[in-house]
């Protein structure tokens, strides 16, 4: 066995990211590690690559125990990692990026030798690159080849690929999978971290599934299928929903053929049709990066769709700005609390009143007392640990900030609410509170679009569920016909083939 990781455990305070995981790798093998977000895949690989130290457990390389204090150690032992976000210098050439850290030339950097080395490497492994091209000018697929060549130049025998296809076009994905197979044929071993099950099935020899920090099993790819993997990934049984059946009435939000071009050739959104009615929660499930962010931002007036219409309460609001939409009856719990939901340098009170500022004004001046009363009330109701309201927002913990944002948006009391990842990073108690508040809003006749990467949350709260895959709606299910299996399958693109 080339690599054995035994009973790897990693805890951050009370949070256990990896619980006694066993993992091994044979020479010339492609071993995929799959699991939901937060299942512990990345932590496990960071431990292997020396970026984190395991709390307990051992790593054996060729049967001998190994210890990697930092990535340099790991690289020295023939382990290379290609990160999800490329670590390249865009202003430097391909050759310069590949030889970095092991530049040829004693004192002066020997550019010619570098180019020759890269050309030789490229020929040996059959990975085509132009050593003289500037990396910033190369498409993402080529940049990834540069990353792989860099790792090979460092002499890696084991190559870790972290979510390698996330940023690639389908054609580039195909080329990458071919390259992996070819290199594996030459004796290199791969660890492929991903949640795209179709890709796993087409390239992996063995598959280890992680769930909640534990390995739920290692399977031979030939003995399994996408359905079984989804089931293993998600695992737990669904808690029965206690909410009353929906009694939806008039349409509140109506999307017709909404489309938006993406950064690459693939559209970010293609012809989305979606309705949210009074008194109903519509869940949007999907692996992040399949168009959910663009959908939310288009509806919230933060991006202009290229075509299609958005109507809110019967009024055409296509292309309106965020202010106009808020005035028309929209509130919005944003998916990323730091990018959209807060200003770190502002005080807790200032972050808290965003969107309420006009209501709090008198003769153009903010009413300081009314502002404090409003925010203090939320702090109490959601038991937000904020200290003083004059504290900087950046001093709030993520969970407390999330609660503040949820309180702020619920207090808008609008007919329509976008709730994107409403419970990301909050503790269980707060999660219950937020869920109850959302259901209460629904009972009062509010229309809610819930976007979440937590399937359990989607299934618990939603009345209808749409699944997004690559910018389209891959399927729509009523909650009583939905299951985590079905949703996972649709999310992984597994349903598209049969459709």
């Amino acid at each position: 066995m080339l690599l054995e990781m035994e009973r790897i455990t990693k805890s951050y305070g009370s949070v256990i990211a990896n619980k006694g995981i066993d993992f091994n790798l044979k020479a010339g093998e492609v071993h995929a590690v799959v699991g939901e977000n937060g299942a512990g895949k990345t932590t496990l690989m960071r431990i292997l690559y020396g970026m984190e130290q395991a709390t307990s457990g051992t790593i054996k390389l060729n049967g001998r125990e190994a210890r990697f204090a930092d990535p340099k150690d790991a690289i020295g032992s023939g382990i290379g990692m290609v990160h999800q976000h490329f670590m390249l210098f865009p202003d430097f050439t391909v050759a310069e990026n590949i030889v970095i850290g092991r530049e040829p030339g004693a004192v002066r950097f020997d550019r010619k030798a570098a180019i020759e080395q890269v050309e030789a490497l490229s020929k040996t492994y059959g990975i085509r690159v132009d050593p003289r091209a500037k990396v910033g000018d190369c498409p993402l697929g080529v940049q990834q080849r540069v990353e792989i060549l860099k790792v090979l130049h460092q002499g890696a025998e084991i190559i870790i690929l972290d979510e390698p296809t996330g940023v690639l076009t389908p054609l580039e994905v195909g080329e990458l999978l071919e390259a992996i197979k070819k290199l594996a044929g030459m004796g290199k071993s791969f660890i492929l971290i991903t949640h795209k099950l179709n890709e796993v099935m087409s390239v992996a020899d063995r598959i280890t599934v992680l769930r909640d920090g534990e390995a739920t099993g290692t399977l031979n790819a030939s003995d399994t299928n996408v359905e079984e993997l989804s089931r293993l990934m998600v695992g737990r049984e669904l808690a029965p929903s206690t909410k009353k059946p929906a009694n939806p009435k008039a349409n509140v939000l109506d999307l017709r053929d909404l489309s938006l071009a993406g950064n690459g050739p693939e559209p970010a959104l293609s012809e989305i049709n979606l309705t949210v009615r009074e008194g109903e929660i519509v869940g949007v499930a999907g692996i992040s990066g399949n168009g959910q962010s663009e959908l939310i931002q288009s509806i919230a007036g933060l991006m202009k769709p290229d075509s299609g219409t958005i109507s809110l309460l019967g009024k055409d609001v296509t292309g309106s700005g965020a202010r106009a939409l808020r005035d028309a009856g929209l509130a919005h719990i944003p998916e990323d609390r730091y990018i959209w939901g807060a200003s770190k340098a502002a005080t807790v009170a200032e972050t808290g009143i965003m969107g309420h500022q006009n209501r709090l004004g008198r003769y153009g001046m903010l009413r300081g007392k009314a502002m404090k009363t409003l925010v203090s009330d939320w702090v109490k109701r959601f038991s937000i640990k904020a200290g003083s309201l004059d504290n900087k927002t950046q001093n709030l913990s993520g969970g407390n900030l999330q609660k503040l944002i949820v309180a702020r948006e619920l207090a808008q009391n609008t007919p329509f609410l976008i709730a994107a990842e409403p419970t990301r990073g909050v503790d269980i108690g707060a999660m219950e509170t937020i869920h109850e508040e959302l259901l209460k809003r629904r009972a009062e006749g509010g229309a809610i679009l819930l976007v979440s990467s937590e399937l359990s949350e989607i299934l618990k709260l939603s009345d209808r569920i749409v699944v997004m895959y690559e910018g389209s709606i891959a399927g729509e299910l009523r909650v009583d016909e939905a299951s985590e299996d079905k949703l996972s399958l649709l999310m992984a693109g597994g349903g598209v083939r049969h459709a």
């Binding site: 990018i339 939901g341 340098a345 006009n358 709090l360």
Partner: protein
């Protein structure tokens, strides 16, 4: 208590910068062969040594404070206005032309001239804002390049059509304003004029606007995290245009006050050679755009300049010692901003941040 502590903390950076500036000045004094104690004493005397010197410092601080307020209001809202020089030139020239050609009682013409200066500087600056909205050209670049157009155009106007032909000299300048139009001096025989009161009023108004008003809240949030502000319903475009107008208007007012209160005519290049615009911008950057801090910074830099003249008169150390200290301060500000810029660039894969702050043509942003 809590607030005072935070306030002190925000002063820490500028104070360290000034301390190191003075230290670097000491080295320069040693190199120039002077005595540190003597030079700084003379500098202090030159700036504050007598009522006359003190009021001269206030007089010099007047345009600096106004320019600093202009830079600060833009800066706090997340926009850069580096165009104070051109805005001042247009403001000063407009004030001079209005003062010469608009009929009416002196005080009335003086007020109209100041308003004209505000409008001229404000529109020139808002134009850069419009370019950002319409063509996505970076404000840093447009405001700065518009300086050349404004200064040279103003220079052309006073060299040809509006040149003072009454005097014998060949100076490129307008005619002198009538005495009735002048801003009154605050003390007989001293240089400080009513413009200083206007500058202090501007500081107070700007402080209240930023700290207490709804628009000021929106502006500060936009400056802190533009995506958050836009998400929360702040109208970026209209806020930017009004902020840029106010910012340029304050610089224009600085030019107008300088013309109406101390030069009594527009002289080509006189603002640029005194370096009012850049010094004022520096005061605002030094204090992170806090209005009161920026005003204090402007006053400090004015003292450095008037003090430098005292040094030149009474010691062997040249006037440029003030510039050395100022240069070190600039270095500090540069390091601070480069650091922020690099951190921002690092996150630029989050395309929304990058697109809002640094213009790019592929964006579609509704606001």
């Amino acid at each position: 208590m809590h607030k005072i502590g935070a306030w002190m903390l925000s002063l820490r950076g500028p104070l360290i910068a000034i301390a190191i500036g003075l230290l670097a000045g000491s080295i320069a004094i040693l190199v120039a062969g002077g005595s540190i104690a003597e030079t700084y004493t003379e500098m202090w005397k030159g700036a504050f040594g007598s009522f006359y010197f003190f009021t001269s410092t206030l007089s010099r601080a007047t345009p600096l404070i106004l320019v600093a307020m202009g830079a600060a209001v833009a800066f706090r809202s997340g926009f850069f206005n580096l165009g104070a020089e051109g805005q001042m030139a247009f403001g000063g020239l407009s004030a001079a032309l209005i003062g010469l050609h608009v009929p009416g009682p002196g005080w009335f013409v003086c007020i109209v001239a100041m308003l004209g200066g505000i409008v001229a500087g404000g529109l020139w600056s808002a134009m850069a804002g419009y370019f950002d909205v319409r063509f996505r050209v970076n404000l840093l670049i447009t405001t700065m390049l518009l300086n050349y157009i404004a200064s040279l155009f103003a220079g052309y106007l006073v060299t040809y059509p509006f040149k003072d032909k009454t005097g014998a000299g060949a100076m490129a300048q307008t005619q002198m304003l009538e005495h009735a139009v002048w801003l009154p001096k605050l003390f007989k025989g001293m240089t400080v004029h009513a413009g200083f009161i206007i500058a202090i009023a501007a500081v107070v108004i700007l402080y209240v606007y930023l700290a207490r008003s709804v628009k000021g809240y929106e502006a500060r949030m936009l400056g802190g995290n533009p995506l958050f502000a836009v998400y929360g319903g702040v109208r970026r475009t209209s806020l930017m245009l009004t902020t840029m107008f106010a910012s340029g208007g304050l610089a224009g007012l600085a030019g107008a006050a300088e013309v109406l209160g101390s030069q009594y005519r527009y002289i080509d290049g006189s603002f640029a050679s005194a370096d009012y615009a850049w010094t004022g911008i520096m005061a605002a950057l030094l204090a992170n755009g806090n209005p009161i801090g920026s005003a204090v910074g402007a006053f400090f830099l004015a003292a450095l300049q008037t003090g430098g003249m005292g040094v030149e008169l009474n010691t062997d150390v040249p006037l440029e010692i003030g510039s050395v200290i100022q240069a070190v301060l600039i270095l500090f500000i540069t390091v601070k901003f480069s650091w922020r810029f690099m951190r921002r660039k690092k996150r630029s894969d989050r395309r929304w941040i990058s697109c809002l702050i640094w213009p790019c043509s592929t964006r579609r942003f509704a606001s």
